[in-house]
Symmetry: C2
Subunit: 302 residues, 2 copies
């Protein structure tokens, strides 16, 4: 099970009653945050989710509305007396940007680890999450993220016996361990069936529509996508600012055949995003015009 | 007339429904901000006051809860297309700290000017405000601020005649100009009576009680003071963290003979500051347990 909460739905600047876009997920005791704008720690507290278990923070890019809340969040996590390291993931320049912002938070009781993204596509396995970062198309280097919770196959005793795996190792192999005994190496696939369908979440803000997004979001259980502008009347501005309109996002969702799409990252000038609900649902019916702190629990099938 | 708004009343970290402590004043078209924690721009917007006219931002010190909101605010002011410079005032290190935080806001459409405080007490005249910065006693270098709106004396025609000031200069002299004609220098005091009582506001957070505070706040129309802890039961913690209790603040207000005191900068662990109202009013009756966005307009006498 993966808990997902869209902490805010605003773009550019925080507004009363509309926090900046950021996502938190919880899986197996380990929380992951994507982006941290000004006020993210407050909306997180409003939701009632703890910042103490945030092990990983991913950044799409380093515009202020996606990272200004980091020093305050780190200070608050520190005040909650966290000792375990926090891993930060983001485009090249991550360490420089974070160290600059940390001028007001130079001492923390936990270690920060850095993973800087340099390739067009990178895969990172951390705390049970498979994170796929893929480069999108914004005015600065920006990445989208797919979070996969992969699921091993079922235990098949016949297969274990067939492969002559001693019963004493079955449990450890089921947990994913690789075991060596007397020079023989035993791997989980020797006792398990085909991997089962896992959970897939794709998150994408601050970009023009590019093919990579529908490719990476393909078949996602949940696709969270920016919609800076409500209609294609704003297409010129969207192109200039390197953002998307609702219809553009809907076309990606349709092409990627995702189960549902949540729109977010609304322009401060968009008073009521719901106004565009019907028109966008004509393109992709399973569109949700998200509000702050919308959450869902995604479960494995069966 | 000086409009005053206490934008938030929290200390240490922003909470839902309690923003971090910051003050905004408006005088004669020029706004001044003291401190800018995470979310200050949002509570300002909730109040309905514009960030566009902020000409001056003073910092008490550089702990995160007093400055983390600066890059976001500067970006928002920039988005509102301000062109006029903004002057920043704060303890030594100001430029270094601000430039570090500006890693996410490197380009702004207006100039930033810096006034770094080095002395125990400094007086700065800017946009009709007389700002007195005075060093207090916190875990890092920290200043309190007095804002004076000074008021010249009344025009006295008899005095102007007595001093043989030509009538054609009366208006300009009343506006504060100094005029030279044929080698003779004429100053406003040659046509004005004794300066009248102005408006005085003193603002002080993040400090232990020290004599300088009551000296600088003496006779203030409004004294805004930190009260991190409600009662003297917390005196040990207050001393350790270099903060004050409500009773300590009240003793300063009493000694300084201010007209009224507003408490602020409550610890996140203080659920209901009002619980301590009666006890603190026994020491200083004109104490207000402030809530976010409390405001007042201070007027000249008569």
């Amino acid at each position: 099970m993966l808990d997902v909460c869209l902490l805010g739905t605003g773009g550019m600047m925080p507004l009363p009653n509309r926090w900046l876009t950021a996502l938190m997920t919880r899986f197996n005791g380990s929380s992951l945050l994507i982006d941290c704008g000004e006020g993210t720690q407050i909306t997180l507290r409003q939701k009632g989710w703890s910042h103490h278990d945030i092990d990983t923070i991913c950044f799409t890019h380093y515009h202020g509305d996606h990272i200004c809340g980091l020093p305050g969040l780190l200070l608050s996590i520190g005040n909650a007396d966290r000792k375990e390291p926090v891993t930060l993931i983001g485009p090249k320049g991550l360490m420089k940007v974070v160290n600059s912002l940390r001028v007001v938070a130079p001492e923390l009781p936990f270690e920060l680890k850095y993973i800087e993204l340099n390739e067009k596509r990178e895969v990172i396995n951390i705390n049970g999450y498979e994170i796929i970062a893929f480069k999108v198309n914004h005015s600065v280097t920006c990445y989208g993220y797919t979070i996969n919770i992969n699921r091993a196959g079922k235990f098949v005793p016949e297969k274990a016996k067939e492969n002559e795996v001693p019963m004493k190792f079955w449990n450890r192999l089921q947990k994913g361990e690789t075991i060596e005994e007397d020079g023989r190496i035993m791997t989980p696939d020797m006792i398990l069936g085909e991997p089962r369908k896992g959970i897939k979440l794709t998150y994408c803000t601050d970009t023009r529509p590019v093919d990579i997004i529908s490719e990476e979001a393909n078949g996602a259980d949940l696709f969270i996508c920016e919609g800076m502008y409500g209609t294609d009347e704003f297409i010129k501005k969207a192109k200039e600012k390197k953002h998307m309109t609702f219809p553009e996002a809907a076309l990606i969702a349709k092409k990627a055949e995702v189960k549902q799409m949540w729109l977010t990252h609304y322009s401060p000038s968009m008073i009521n995003p719901d106004d565009y609900k019907e028109s966008v649902r004509k393109i992709f019916p399973d569109t949700v015009i998200s509000k702050d702190r919308r959450s869902i629990t995604l479960s494995f099938e069966d």
